[in-house]
Every structure is written in C-alpha cells, then in structure tokens.
C-alpha cells in the first residue's frame, strides 16, 4: 500500500518586498518559504491512514522544486512521511500548474500509489488546479475540496465528503487509485518533535531529473505551459482623506463631498 502526497514549497511575502526585474514575480530575496498550508493537512491525512492501517503503508511525499525545497520535504519526513522525492531540472522553471501536473503524473506512474493526495490549492498562487490536472493526465477519478475522508488502506474505494453551499454535504464514493485535493481544516496537523526533525535531517531525499521520470524539456517550463504570467504589480491605491474640524465643520465638508460625488456641486 502506498500513498503519494504532492507538496509544494510556497512563498510568503516579507514585511517589505519589491517586484523583480522581469516584472513577473516578487524579488525572491523578499520571500519567506514554507510548506503550503493545505499540504500540511493532506500529509496529516495520509499519515493517519497509515497509522490506522493493519498492513504496512508507505507515505511518499513528492515536490517539484529546486534544492531549497528539500526543507519542506524534510519537514514532511519529520511529520511522518517515509520517503521523499524531489524532481528538478532547470527547464522546469516557469512551469504553470498544467506543466507541473504533467510531471506529477509521471512520478505517479512510476510510484504507482493507491491514492494521490494534494492540497486544494497553494497559498501563494492559488490556481487550485495542480491536483485536478494531475488526475486528468493520469486518467484517474478525482475529488476536489475534500473535507472528510474515510479510507482504509487496501480497500478498492474510498468515501469522502465535500462541503457545498448552504451547509450541504456531498458524500462521494470513489474508485482507487484516485486523486483527492484536501481542504484545510480536515484534521489537526501534528507538530514534529525535535527528535523526528533531527532524524529527518539525516534521511536521504531521492532527487530525480526530467529524464528520470521520462519527460522531455519542451513539455515543461514556459514551453510546456498553457498559461503565462504577463505581469505582477501593485495596483494604484485609492486615496483616503482625513476630515478634521468640529463636528459641524466635518458634516459640512462630508455633505460637500457627497454632493460633488453625485455631480450636484
């Protein structure tokens, strides 16, 4: 039994930041990297399935990213993943979620898990499509925004619930292998102890390149992407103005502004 958990090292903005020279992303120097919030929940879900299983279950985390992404893989190892795989190649830079999904699907074919879990979305770019697109490439069934999951390792199917509008729940049975995107809040992720952090630091990370997973360079990066970021920018802010003076003066001024706004003045 094997569960593959796709994780991403996301970026958060530091207090101050500037947009990089190409105008398409924040200058990397101003980014704080961490494990995507949603992935913490999908990893926890996988580890719980493993802990509840009668037979051995292997939880494998996979991330597509440069060497610095090892940090989040080690975090996952510390929290209970058995093995970590990282795919990287310079050609991968600039990939959109579709190109990333293509790589993930290739890894999934190699690893042949019984279940693939991903986060609903990433906290930095928020496309919410990587997991679903991976299912598309694999031709596996998928469930999106999973808020509770009943799955016993070895079973041919899983039952999950999705939260719909108006307090409705969608209860779905799905054939395995399947791809599920996990919603934040499905569980309470555990913390890693110092002991497991230290142990994880010593574990190897299985680094593979595109050739290792059987993907060619033109299928990824800008070339292999279906969407392209053109510009990242901070929109001009509206102007606020503090109205000062006595209550009567303030009221008069405000009335004037409203009249001007309505075109009466």
């Amino acid at each position: 039994m094997k569960i593959l958990v796709a994780v991403k090292q996301v970026a958060a903005l530091d207090e101050d930041f500037v947009i990089g020279a190409d105008g398409r992303d924040v200058d990397a120097e101003f980014l704080i990297r961490d494990l995507n919030e949603w992935d913490d929940f999908s990893l926890e879900e996988a580890v719980r399935i493993k802990e509840a299983a009668a037979d051995p279950v292997e939880v494998v985390v996979v991330s597509i990213g440069p060497e610095e992404a090892d940090e989040v893989l080690r975090k996952c190892l510390a929290k209970g993943a058995d093995r970590a795989v990282r795919i990287w190649d310079e050609a991968v830079a600039g990939s959109d979620p579709i190109a990333i999904a293509r790589i993930l699907a290739a890894v999934a074919r190699q690893e042949a898990p019984d279940m693939l879990l991903a986060g609903v979305q990433s906290s930095d770019h928020g496309f919410a499509s990587t997991g679903i697109a991976t299912a598309g490439f694999l031709g596996w069934p998928h469930g999106a925004v999973v808020a509770s999951l009943a799955y016993t390792s070895g079973e041919k199917s899983a039952v999950f619930r999705r939260e719909l509008e108006g307090g409705l729940l969608h209860q779905v049975t799905i054939q395995c292998p399947a791809v599920l995107t996990i919603q934040a809040g499905i569980n309470t992720p555990r913390y890693a102890s110092l002991r497991s952090i230290k142990q994880a630091a010593a574990k190897p990370i299985d680094v593979r390149n595109l050739a290792d997973v059987g993907i060619s360079a033109h299928e990824v990066g800008e070339q292999g992407s279906l969407s392209h970021v053109r510009r990242m920018y901070i929109p001009d802010k509206g102007h606020a103005q503090l109205i000062e003076g006595s209550a009567a003066e303030q009221a008069k001024r405000l009335a004037g502004i409203i009249r001007a706004f309505k075109g009466e003045a």
Binding site: A192, L194, R195, I197
Partner: protein, 730 residues
C-alpha cells in the same frame, strides 16, 4: 518598513535655550534605584536610551543638599565632588549618542524624612508631611530662604561640572518650589505668601539665580505640576497654573509639566487600570497657550499616532515619557525605522514604581526584563549574544516566563519548541487581562507572541505548539531536546492553603459547587450566587479585582481579608483609586479577619488579633495567649478562595526523579522557571525566562550567575582625596 512620513515631526530637532534636542523624544526624570551611588547602573540604563534614540535623558530626582535626604527611598544626590565624579559617567555615556543629559535638582521639604543625614528639612510653613510619616519641616525665615536658594545654585554649578546639559528646578510632585506656590502648604503672611506673586516669589528667584549661574551653558528647565487636582485648595491650572507659567516663562528654556502631588502621584504616573495614554492632556494643554517656550508633557505615550497628534495639535512640543522609556528604551529608534510592531508597549502596571515606593531596590519592569540589569548583568534590551552550542530546547509552557525564555533563546539563534496546552501564548495572563481595567496588560503577551512568530519564520526548525495535550515526562524525555525548560506556571489553591496557617483550610474545596478559585471566577463557567464572600490572604490585586468584577456583575460582595488588602497596590500607586472603586461599588470589607473552617453556605470567621495580647508561658501543648474567642459564622452563596498559589511543578519533579534516563534520551539538563519554580510577580517570572535564556550554556544554569555589584569599597573614600580609615574626633 519605512516610517510613516506623518511621524517625521517627531524627528525634528528643537532648541531649548543654549542646547538643541535632536528629536522630540525625551525621558523625563525617573528613579531606577541607581542614584549617584551606582554610577555604572546609572550610566548604562540612561545611555541605552540615548542609543535607542531619546534626545534628552534625565537623572531621577537629584537632591541638592543633605537637608533633602529621602532615605529610605533612593534619590540621586549632587551634594559634593564625590557625586559629581559618579554622575559624570552618565553624562559621558549619554553624550556618545549625541543626546542631552539632564539633572532634576530636588529639595523635598518635609516630604524628605532625612533618615540618613538627620538634618532638618525646611519649608515655606511648618507642616507635617501627608506623604511621609512623622516628618515636620522648619518654617523658613528670610535667611533660610537665601541659604536654600544658594543650595540650588551650588548644585547647579556642580551639575554643570558633571556635564549636564539641562538643569531643572523641580517643582512638581509637591516638592519645595510648589510648596511655596500652593496655598495647601504655604500659609505665610510675608512677601513669600498670600498673593500668587508672593507665593511664586521663591520659585522665580530660584530660577533667576540658577539661570544666572549656569544659564549660558545649560538649558534651564522646570518641572511643574500645573494642577494639584484638589481645586482651589492647591494649584488649579486655569488659575495659578497658567498665571505662574506667565510669570516664569522668561526664566525657563523648557517647561516639563504634569499634574498631581506626591501623596497620590499615581495621578501623574497613572496606572493603566485607571488611566489611558494622554490622560493629563485636559490639564497640560493650557500651557502652550501661555508659554513661548518649548513645552513637554507626559501621559504614558507609546503610540506614535498619539505622539504626532500631541505635537501637531500644539498640545506639547516634546513627548515626555518615563514608563514607556523603561518598557522600550529603543522606542524612538523603532518609530524612526518604521518598526512599529517591534515596540514593547508599556502595560502601565507600575511595577517599576513599586520598587521606589518600597524604598529603592533596583527598578524592575514587567515588559522589559533587562531594565535594571544593563550594567550589573550586561544585558542589552535589543542585542543578544549568539548561541554557543547546537543544543535544541523544548520549553513547556508559553506563559510570561516560558514565552520570554523561548523568545530570547530564539533571538540567540537556538532552535526552540515552545509547547502549551492553551490555544494562545500568554499563560495566566490570558485570564488576568479580562479583569476590570487590566486589558492593557495583554501587551505583555502580544509582544512575545509577535516576536516569536517572526523568529519562527527565521528558523524553520523552531516551532510554537499550542492547544496540545498536557506533556508527560515520557513525552518530554522522548522529545529529542537536549535541554528542557519547564515553565508550567502556578495555580490558585483550591483547598484554602494560605500564608497565615500554612495549611489547607478545613472545608475549603473549590471542586464544590459553592466554592471557586480565582481561575474559575475568571473562566466564567461556574455559576456564582448572589452573596459572594471573597476570602483573601493575598497582598496584590486578585481579591480587589475579583470583588470589582463580581460587584459590577450585580453580586453582593464581602471581602474578608486576613492580610493587608491590596498592600502591593500602595507601591504601584493603584491603591487609592482601587479603594475608591470598592467604595463606589458598595463592597463590604472586613479587615484583619480570616476563616478557620468552611461549611456549605457558611464560613467561620475570626479576628486575626482576637487572641489575648498578654503572652504567658504555659508549657508544652498550650499556646501562650488567651485563645481567640472571636469566631462567628458568616453566610455566603458563593465563596471565592484567594488564599494563595502553588507551583504546577509535577512535570519537573518527575523529570528530576528520572534523571537516570536523561543521558540515553540525549537530555543534558532540565530547568524550572517562572511561577512553576515559585509564584511571583509577572515581572519576576519574565525575568527568570530571560535570565535562563541568557545563561543556558552555564553548567548550573538553573542558578543565576553572580552579577557585578556596585558598593562602597574599603580603601577609597567617596570624596576624592579624603581619608577613608577610621578617624575619631577626640
């Protein structure tokens, strides 16, 4: 983040007489317990503020002559060359950062008990101090007046020699110049009494003489309580207040104004329980309307928005601060750099003041554990020594001591896991801050919460683990930390154990429906009946705070107290208004009484001094006094037990007992800090966290390293060149 341009006004220099303040941040005179006798402490505490951006920094009140001796409390003194030498350290270090050093020349009149010098204080009229016990002053004749004015002049000259840039004539807090000005003290019928002009004469002449002596070299400041807050019995701002400013304006280079007197100086240094930032403005705002000179005011200013408003609205030119500068010596620098959320905001608990009120042990601060430790322990509030090992540290308990310890360890670069069962950092503060008036105390938690959140981002190996199950010794040993810090806090006793009997109280049991611990009251889950009895054996705020909370909620509250109710609140200056609150809320107080036993719905109360006054030896098994026969039953619907606290130290005890298992688990040492070691003030709990974090590499880090002591040294004399050896005049 860049600073908001709106705050630029706070960084404009301003001229005061012959000197220039480089910005608008000014540390008004405040005691620290250093005076002139601990020059290292004095120099380090004040100059760290100069480094942190304060443009003007003062001594505490500084006595000009042995006739103004405040022993048992601790003032600075500039009596002689010995004092000049010691104070020079402060001015030299302040000048390194281009800030100005000020000295607050002080003569106390009968408020100075002269317990060391045994001199006789002089005053405008003879009166008994309403502040000090058993001191009267001698009424001055004209010779006396001339003499005392010369004391000011001589002290001003010595101040200049010591390197001071600003010389004060101190007339706030009901000290001598104000005693002349205020009809509350001044009953004279000669040219120094009666009309305002006459009452002002002493102060004006003194300013004139001091100005003539040092005014070319130093800025002349005066500190003036513009309203003593008791109507026309004293000084009222709209009357004598502004008129005096008009009379003296040409003689001063800087007005430092506040309100109140000395007996209730909590009206000036207003605790957050009763007063918010800017609380003095309704009185002090009048001064700028009549003065042409720079004016500074105080009022626990911590917020740059409020400070900017004070300056731009013309309420004052300069932001004076005592407590905010203690809580965050780098407040101006943080504003300057736009690091607003790094400001360690003063919580207004007045524990700093408590030390002076107690008699002058080194000042402490609840927020800033390094206050008072700058010189003797070498602690800088904003700079930390780098870690010297790769040990990782588990801190169990995220209350005041645990969170402080974790913060400082993280600042030092250690990997730290901070663990708590609660969902929030803060420990018992999360409950205490729900009590009436104590909301601002949560800045203590907020500061640590935010700093730790920032530090965890810098070191991904560190983490904050909240809402966890209680940690067991097994968990802690297996956790993988080389060092384990136990900071599990304390709890109120549920069995009535107290400082009077040192035993549980028969019948006391907070698991019963009609009895509660303070935690249960604050938690708000347990029903509380109409008639509440609070049984108190604690000397700080818990009993009166709970009484206030319950009375506000409509309960009929009776306080039965076996110890001096709220005694520590005298020292924090919260006492007078706390008592007014109890009175307003019709809370019944039974003093010097405690319970001997409790039954459902009633407690047996006795008078603490109800036994016989005569002590007679009666042999074994017999108490040497007539037995206490004052016992009577008192009914209640709910009983609150504010009888004492105990450390939650079971995890530490178990870990100590299993020290044989430390080595194989990689654990090098286990420590106990904060209330878990011994219940104490939040300031002291916070200190233990900071202290351990700075000394954790020491082989016995549980126990503090010795600190540098500043004491008189045999073999040298205080006065340069004088004899030190025994000498008798025979």
């Amino acid at each position: 983040m860049a600073r908001d341009p709106k705050h630029d006004v706070l960084f404009q220099p301003i001229k005061i007489g012959p000197k220039t303040l480089r910005n608008r941040f000014y540390q008004v005179p405040h005691c620290i317990g250093a005076g002139s006798d601990r020059p290292g402490f004095q120099a380090a505490h004040r100059s760290i503020k100069a480094e942190g951006g304060w443009a003007g920094i003062n001594t505490e009140y500084c006595s000009i002559h042995p006739e103004s001796d405040d022993t048992h409390r601790l003032s600075a003194r500039i009596w002689d060359e010995g004092d000049v030498r010691n104070l020079r350290a402060m001015t030299d270090y302040i000048h390194k950062y281009n800030s100005l050093a000020g000295v607050e020349l002080w003569y106390g009149g009968s408020h100075a008990p002269c317990m060391e010098s045994r001199a006789t204080p002089r005053g405008p009229s003879q009166y008994a101090s309403e502040f000090e016990t058993l001191t009267y002053c001698k009424e001055m004749d004209f010779d006396d007046i001339a003499m005392v004015q010369q004391y000011y002049v001589d002290a001003a000259l010595r101040s200049r020699d010591a390197g001071f840039d600003i010389v004060y004539v101190y007339g706030a807090h009901s000290y001598l110049p104000l005693q002349f000005l205020s009809p509350y003290y001044n009953k004279r019928k000669d040219k120094y009494g009666g009309s305002l002009e006459n009452r002002a004469r002493f102060w004006l002449e003194t300013l004139e003489q001091v100005r003539r002596a040092v005014g070319h070299d130093c800025a002349i400041a005066t500190r003036f309580a513009v309203d003593t807050l008791y109507g026309d019995a004293g000084v009222e701002v709209e009357n004598d207040g502004i008129k005096f400013v008009g009379l003296a304006d040409s003689l001063v280079d800087l007005w430092d104004v506040d309100v109140g007197d000395i007996a209730e100086w909590g009206e000036d240094a207003g605790p957050s329980r009763f007063y918010q930032q800017g609380h003095q403005v309704p009185w002090t705002r009048f001064i700028k309307q009549v003065s042409k000179k720079p004016v500074l005011g105080v009022g626990r200013f911590t917020d740059p928005e409020k400070m900017t408003e004070i300056v731009t609205k013309g309420i004052a030119d300069i932001i004076g601060a005592a407590r905010p500068s203690i809580s965050d010596p780098w407040l101006p620098k943080k504003i300057e750099e736009g690091r607003y959320d790094d400001i360690r905001v003063c919580i207004g608990c007045n524990v700093c003041i408590s030390r002076w009120e107690i008699g002058g042990p080194p000042m402490i601060c609840t927020q800033n554990a390094t206050a008072g430790e700058e010189y003797r322990r070498g602690w800088h509030p904003e700079k930390f020594p780098k870690k010297t090992s790769d040990d990782s540290i588990l801190v169990v308990g995220a209350g005041p001591s645990g969170s402080e310890c974790a913060r400082v360890l993280m600042e030092r670069g250690y990997t730290v896991h901070l663990y708590d069962t609660a969902a929030k950092i803060g420990g018992h503060l999360n409950q205490v801050t729900t009590l009436p008036g104590l909301g601002e105390w949560s800045y203590h938690r907020d500061y640590r919460e935010l700093q730790i959140a920032k530090l965890v981002k810098k070191n991904k190996q560190s983490q904050v683990m909240l809402g966890q199950k209680p940690m067991t010794a097994d968990d802690a040993l297996a956790y993988g930390a080389e060092k384990i810090v136990i900071a599990t806090g304390s709890s109120w006793n549920s069995d009535g154990t107290n400082c009077l009997s040192h035993d549980p109280l028969p019948g006391a049991d907070a698991s019963r429906a009609d009895q509660l611990t303070p935690e249960q009251v604050m938690d708000g889950k347990k029903p509380i009946g109409k008639r509440v009895m609070i049984l108190n054996a604690d000397t700080y705020f818990m009993a009166p705070s709970l009484a206030e909370k319950l009375a506000m909620a409509g309960h009929e509250v009776t306080l039965v107290t076996g110890v001096h109710l709220a005694n520590y609140m005298h020292f924090t200056l919260e006492y007078p208004n706390m008592m007014r609150r109890l009175h307003e809320l019709h809370i019944k107080e039974i003093h010097n009484a405690f319970a001997s036993s409790i039954e459902p719905g009633r407690a047996q109360i006795y008078d603490v001094f109800g036994d016989g006054s005569k002590r007679i030896f009666k042999g074994v098994g017999k108490i040497p006094r007539t037995p206490n026969a004052s016992h009577r039953w008192m009914e209640f619907d709910s009983l609150v037990l504010v009888t004492g606290r105990h450390s939650n130290d079971s995890l530490h005890r178990e870990l100590k007992a299993r020290n044989g298992e430390w080595h194989k688990n990689g654990v090098r040492d286990v420590y106990l800090i904060g209330d878990a070691e011994a219940p104490r003030l939040i300031a002291d709990a916070t200190f233990t966290g900071q202290r351990l974090a700075r000394e954790i590499e020491e082989s016995k880090a549980q126990f503090p390293l010795p600190y540098r002591r500043e004491v008189a040294v045999w073999g040298t004399s205080h006065m340069p060149g004088a004899e030190f050896d025994l000498e008798y005049k025979i």
